[in-house]
Amino acid sequence: MISDPATSLTSAVLAPGADDDQLLHVSLGPQHPSTHGVFRMNVVLDGETVVRLKPVFGYLHRNHEKIAEGTSYLASMPYTDRLDYICPLSNNWAYAQAVEKLAGIEVPERAEFIRVILGELTRLINHSAFAGFILGDMGAWGSALMYAFREREKILDIFEELTGARMMANFMRFGGCRNDLPEGWSAKVSRLVDDYGPFLDEMEKFLVGNEILLSRTLNVGSLPREVLINGGITGPMLRAAGVPYDIRKVDPYGIYERFDFRIPLGATGDCYDRIMIRFLEMRESLKILRQALDHLPDGPIIHPKAKIRNFIEGPKGELGFHLISDGTTRPYRYRIRPPSFINLTLIEDMCLGLDLADVVIILGSIDIVLGEVDR
């Protein structure tokens, strides 16, 4: 237990040392397969050991917030798809909910169910893709990613049938959803939910006992809980360290309090726990999906027709939109709390003293998407 979690970094590491000429400065990225996009880390190595690590952002910066402040509320919706492009529908959801809170709009029950179904399918996509990517980071480039993407593709087909696009869904609207479910759509999702369990079994068999994976991930990159909370880490990263903080339970939004599901927690918060937590979360998502599909009500999908901040538990962590309205058709202030960006705060602390190869795994286990980091 440390006295002040905010000062976990020793200042000696931050300041340049006297023997800097003996150190090796490596610029990891921006074009590097393990950086998950255009992202750079300035790493200082003592031999193979990391002594300093500074992330460099902004390669994908397009000032989405400025664009959003110059257009109508609805016109920002397709831009939210492009934040975290692996899971566009949770971004849609968070933004729609923020505007609903801002304007006091109610959402019909059927729309809430559809949103839960889409949100949990998105979580499945994100976590399966994560499992594939992190294996790629470990050098198992190919099989794991292909299996994960094969399953992801099935969900994307389902998304395409409903929203018209595989990834850039632009589906949620303020007060509901854009269109109703097509004929036979929920049956397809139901079949997918049935088939997903065996896929997860297979994936776990593929990975869990693997000695290479164990030696690369066990006891790599763990930090004390207090430091993680203080550093603003959210999502599976935080829960892997054993903190029961999931907004779906802590501050249930939508209709999440109606569902019976559990929050998987890890013990140590190392990279192994972070992988396993995501597998367990996928199983919980399947449970929620099953319940939502069984109880999907009929009814309208969109409500007929300041300052607020709203959070949802995105697949990568706490995704928030902070809106300030001055009563005009454009938001006065539009701010995103990007989970990927803030989860990177402690990457230096996690990597110090480890090997360069571990940096890649740790970065992979944080699960960032650069569209969201740089906005």
Partner: protein, 219 residues
């Protein structure tokens, strides 16, 4: 559905033991081998489609780039677009450009002189189709649009954007069917109103009363 929230936590998975060195690796390889062999005869293991020989059918909701719908045979006369410029204002990346056709007095003729869409800017969001009050702009399903001319080949003009209503019907039977029924009803209503007006005018003429013609539409 259980409304009662059960305990929020679940114990973590036990880390796999290092029982026999290499057994985990072998298990993983069995999975890989299974996937490889089954990919020859099981559909769900072999998901690749041999494009362009095979194609995945696109769903009616699929959206790509916008097109403009016209009724009848003549794309210019039958164009539903009235150049109201709502789509131009609402388009998030501002890829639509409209010039309203005007007569010599500067009065709008309710049709576009220029209607350009830069598909290299368009982000396929479909908001233009959503906001259009005249059933004019819809999202297309055509996806083979590669061109050698990066600039002009990706700037679609009115002639390329105009597509007949039948095309829309083929693309999205349900939506287009609903639109067609609604439009027909509107046209019928307008015709009925027009006929009633004419009939009334006729009767008024016959009576030859000095009363001014009432402006309100007959019920």
């Amino acid at each position: 559905m259980n409304t009662q929230s059960s305990s929020t936590t679940k114990p973590p998975p036990p880390p796999a033991k290092w029982s026999v060195p290499g057994i985990g690796l072998l298990k993983g390889m069995v999975v890989t081998a299974k996937n490889m062999i089954q990919s020859y005869y099981r559909k769900e293991r072999m998901t690749t489609v041999q494009y362009p020989e095979e194609r995945v059918p696109i769903s009616p909701n699929f959206r790509n780039f916008p097109f403009l719908c016209y009724d009848g045979e003549d794309p210019k006369a039958g164009l539903r677009c009235t150049a109201c410029t709502i789509c131009e204002t609402e388009c998030p990346p501002q890829c639509i450009y409209i010039v309203i056709e005007r007569d010599e007095n500067g009065k709008s003729l309710k049709r576009p002189k220029v209607f350009d869409i830069d598909v290299s800017v368009c982000m396929n969001c479909g908001i233009c189709a959503e906001v259009c009050p005249f059933d004019s702009i819809y999202m297309d399903g055509e996806y083979e649009l590669s061109t050698q001319d990066r600039f002009n080949g990706l700037l679609f003009h009115l002639d390329r954007l105009s597509k007949p209503a039948d095309y829309h019907l083929k693309l999205r039977p349900v939506e287009a069917g609903e639109v067609a029924v609604r439009r027909k009803a509107e046209v019928d209503k307008k015709r009925a109103v027009q006929a009633a007006k004419e009939a009334k005018a006729q009767t008024d003429k016959d009576k030859a009363t000095p009363e001014p013609i009432t402006k309100g539409e007959p019920a």
